[in-house]
Assembly symmetry: C2
């Protein structure tokens, strides 16, 4: 990585092996030390440069002394062993130093708004405003380089190992029916707009119809969600589609892909990944993307309370899909007094503490018979010091509630120093057999796609499409890593009449908006399926970054702004003229008017 | 490339080596032949499937007979040698055929608007409307696959050989000062717009300031040029930037990149490429992107006519930078009568034909003395049958005129069957030492950047910036292939005060619009430079495609439309509300109004 460059070596690569070599290094002045040393930095690391102290080198000395921190220089000199006792074991190049012979100053640095040192904590907005300084930190350098290497390995696997074709698809496209989160781009034709697509879904399917056979793309996608934390208006997905393949084929492909490209320093990952049905995930974890690094699973206690006299449990069990569920959390004394318990419990959760002597402590206690108490302890395996959190109601509300509480408890325990989840573990999980359709919230008798309208039914459920569509499971698969959904895909409908039936009869959508896709399916579409992996999220989990902003070179703020250049920005009415649009300014009383 | 698939082999890979093997193939029915054969196609090629004729296979037979062209099937059977005399030498799989044992029909194809055969000529708009069918042609399959392989090799070279970091930069950004060709994207903040950048120029420089050291990206770029033939509103460039490098370093890098990634079947390319200064290119070829596959260079005849009595030559020579220039074209009889000559010559070109006996034929003939005639013939090397095209005037007009005429003559000769340019040759050429600034057409005393305001001056010209900026040459380099500019780059200004001087004092631009870049240069910017290669154009030249539309999966029409989905399309006023814009509809009398 010093080819074609002014330097002969990078700072970080020099070791005792280089002693005696004459080298040229280019980099940034990290700091000056003891009036004798310049610590020089490039992307690869730090090296100590010894300033010669002889009178004959006085010019060199004064140039180096005058350097401000973060100035950019080239130093030529000889690598030498550091004097005995002066080695720095914590520094990879700490055995050696460079005796400077000459220096060239490329650029003098002004006083910066913050220092480029990893221990200097900066505010997020300052980091974003001076992103070009923030990126100089060793962590950000590591993140961006790991990302680049990961994507390179993925490409090698897909192109070179499995014969995929890298195809670029347009980002200026037609608005998707109901694509409320799509940015619009005015064209020079009055009233006509392009749209920035949320994914290349239509294109990848059309490429299969086109006989491309195996397509992939590191696809830039766009989603206008307004202000949402840790979402970005543009993001990248590993977009994959294959013909003549089934669900197991795509799942194997992705397992192989991740195994092949996984960074060596993060340890190997095992394949195949665990697979769980949607129903199992909801039953055991209360969520469709379980964090399987820890247990604390949901337990069904409905049978225990079948003949209970406790009112709220009785009424819960008498409603449709009524259930009593619980999770068991260890070491209640660590969390029971916390803010969280006070806030959540009174309303929706019943709390049962198991005392050291095995007795219970709970408002429910006097309502529980001895036999019910015994059964409760036995079924849940609760031991002294444990906390039982019991919720009752419809499965649709109880499960997600306990699923959330489970994660909150893990966080609370961890914040008090209890090891719940191994931070170096990577637990992949496939979730399969999702329902194909869900009831619309505002209109429960109307169905909407659980994922998108192009997903095929499970072969054994296909006939239900025409009779009981709400019971149909789809050939959809989600990939979950440590409780985060990092990908999702499906086998698609390749039959035009089935696709038309789903759009028109089940979803009640206007099929003419997708006429080009329907026509394509009718023109010799092969069976096909694919997946999209959220690349930013995947990288952020691998490097352990708290936010996807830490693995994107120039992210937007949570309000969608680039704080460095101040984008988005005002554009003159004159410039908007060729696009036949004008701004409607909000008025003080809440309406809008043209200026 | 049959891993994880329903098939065991691809159609095109089967040869005599596979005889006796039982195989499963998936593909499209190309056609049925002689009631005995199905010709099956996938991306890899064609294979002949023999339909068994026995009574016991009557079901299989009837299924295959009923297939429409372009239906999608899976065939399982045994590879066998074709009977002697029935081999097809023109077909790579022509020695073998598959004896079908079973068939699965995945999809039946309706009647298509055109056949998928390479010899079927379709109109451009029909091709675009049914792009998913057009892409099934062997030529388009080849183009997209070669493109994918080329980009893969480029990445290998940059990442794996030279340590470049693949960094994705935003496409939702701030409007560039004067960026008249940038699409705007309304945001949810009233009056504020993102802009889709024409290139990641600012980001690549900021990444160097950030210490990334070596950056590349296959960058999606956007340019709104309205309707222009063979331009696309979105296109891809190979975007490269390096720190601590000079012009020669970048040029070597690109030569190595192209040599490494060049498709083997196109023959090797030689490096280093020829280099020519801008001045030499203009002098010899009348253009800054010469097609060096043929000669017909411009010749300066000013000296021949120094003391001429011919009026228009005298007056041309007396003006500033006045000159008489000529090109010599062989075989005038092939082109002299053509439409082109009639149209162009009378006004701007003087035509001299050299007869078979060495005498001249020209309206100028009687005005030329014997000695001038001799000198003319000697200087130009004109021989019997040659055509001399002479133009007189200022160098700034004469050179481009003859540069154009030179290319037109080559086309005319080729259209008449004369071989002028080797169609299989790839002539790369670097053009260097461009002027840094040009006079604005409408305001000649005001300078504008020849390329962009971030290009550094040649070291030996830097002082001229402050005294005679119009004389400064830039460290800019263009890469030309067969007369097409396929790339351009420069060493950038890395000194903040020099950049400020160029923006403010020379270009008279408002530097506050680039304050983030100026601040970045002041924060320890390394010397750096880079290049961008127009990837679509490069691929189209390699595959010999007439248009970049032939190497883009889903291109827009020359009016910027997607003819398949009808984008751009109308968007309801309701949907525009969250972006605080409204459409201004043109009125009949030419103004605009809101609906």
């Amino acid at each position: 990585s010093s080819s074609l460059s002014f330097r002969s070596h990078t700072c970080g690569e020099l070791t005792a092996h280089h002693v005696g070599e004459r080298v040229s290094l280019c980099g940034w002045v990290q700091y000056l030390r003891q009036d004798m040393f310049v610590i020089l930095r490039d992307f690869s690391g730090l090296i100590q440069v010894l300033i010669p102290q002889e009178e004959s080198a006085s010019h060199l000395k004064s140039v180096l002394f005058d350097l401000t921190v973060e100035s950019v220089i080239k130093v030529t000199g000889t690598v030498r062993q550091r004097p005995a006792g002066q080695e720095n074991k914590r520094m990879p190049t700490g055995e050696v130093e460079i005796l400077a012979e000459s220096v060239e100053v490329f650029n003098v640095c002004r006083t910066l708004p913050f220092e480029i040192k990893d221990f200097v904590k900066k505010s997020e907005s300052l980091r974003m405003q001076y992103r070009y300084l923030d990126l100089r930190s060793s962590q950000m350098q590591k993140n961006l380089r790991l990302r680049s290497q990961l994507v390179m390995k993925m490409r090698e696997y897909l192109c070179n190992v499995h014969g995929f074709v890298d195809v670029e698809t347009p980002t200026l496209f037609k608005r998707t029916p109901g694509g409320a989160k799509e940015f619009v781009v005015p064209s020079r034709e009055p009233g006509r707009f392009y749209s920035l697509p949320q994914s290349p879904q239509q294109f990848k399917q059309l490429l299969m119809v086109a006989g491309i056979d195996r397509y992939f793309q590191m696809a830039r996608c766009y989603r206008d969600e307004g202000s949402r934390p840790d979402r970005q208006p543009e993001f990248t997905q590993v977009d994959i589609e294959m013909s003549f393949v089934d669900q197991a084929g795509i799942m194997s492909l992705v397992e192989g892909l991740l195994q092949y490209s996984w960074p060596a320093e993060k340890g190997p990952i095992k394949v195949p990944f665990q697979t769980m049905t949607y129903e199992e995930a909801m039953r055991d974890y209360g969520v469709d993307k379980p964090d399987t690094r820890f247990s604390m699973k949901l337990m069904d206690l409905s049978e225990v309370f079948l003949s209970t006299e406790i009112n709220f449990l009785r009424s819960a069990l008498s409603q449709p899909e009524g259930s009593v569920q619980a999770i068991r959390v260890p070491m209640y004394f660590l969390i029971v007094c916390s803010f969280f318990m006070c806030m959540i419990c009174p309303k929706e959760l019943s709390v049962v503490l198991v005392n050291e002597d095995g007795t219970l402590k709970s408002v429910l206690k006097k309502l529980l018979s001895v036999s019910v108490t015994d059964e409760l302890l036995q079924r849940t395996g609760a031991e002294p010091g444990d906390l039982l959190l019991i919720a009752a109601g419809s499965l649709h509300t109880v499960r997600p509630l306990l699923g959330n509480v489970r994660l909150l408890c893990a966080e609370l325990l961890e914040s008090r120093g209890v090891s719940v989840r191994d931070p170096s573990a990577f637990r992949f999980l496939w979730v399969v057999d999702f329902p194909l359709f869900l009831s619309k919230e505002e209109e429960p008798e109307q169905l909407e796609s659980a994922h998108h309208p192009f997903t095929a039914a499970l072969p054994e459920d296909t006939q239900l499409l025409y009779t009981e569509p709400h019971k149909v499971r789809g050939q959809h698969y989600d990939l979950v890593l440590n409780g985060c959904e990092i990908g999702g895909g499906s086998i698609r409908i390749h039959n035009a009449s089935e696709q038309l039936y789903v759009l028109k009869n089940i979803l009640k959508e206007d099929p003419s908006l997708l006429s080009h896709l329907l026509e394509a399916l009718d023109s010799g579409a092969p069976p096909h399926g694919g997946i999209a992996l959220g690349f930013d999220r995947l990288v952020s989990i691998i490097v352990g970054a708290p936010s996807i902003r830490d693995v994107i070179a120039f992210p937007k703020s949570f309000r969608g702004q680039d704080l460095m250049s101040c984008a988005p920005d005002f554009v003159s009415e004159e410039e908007l003229k060729s696009y036949h649009i004008s701004v409607k300014w909000p008025t003080e009383r809440g309406g809008e008017e043209e200026k």
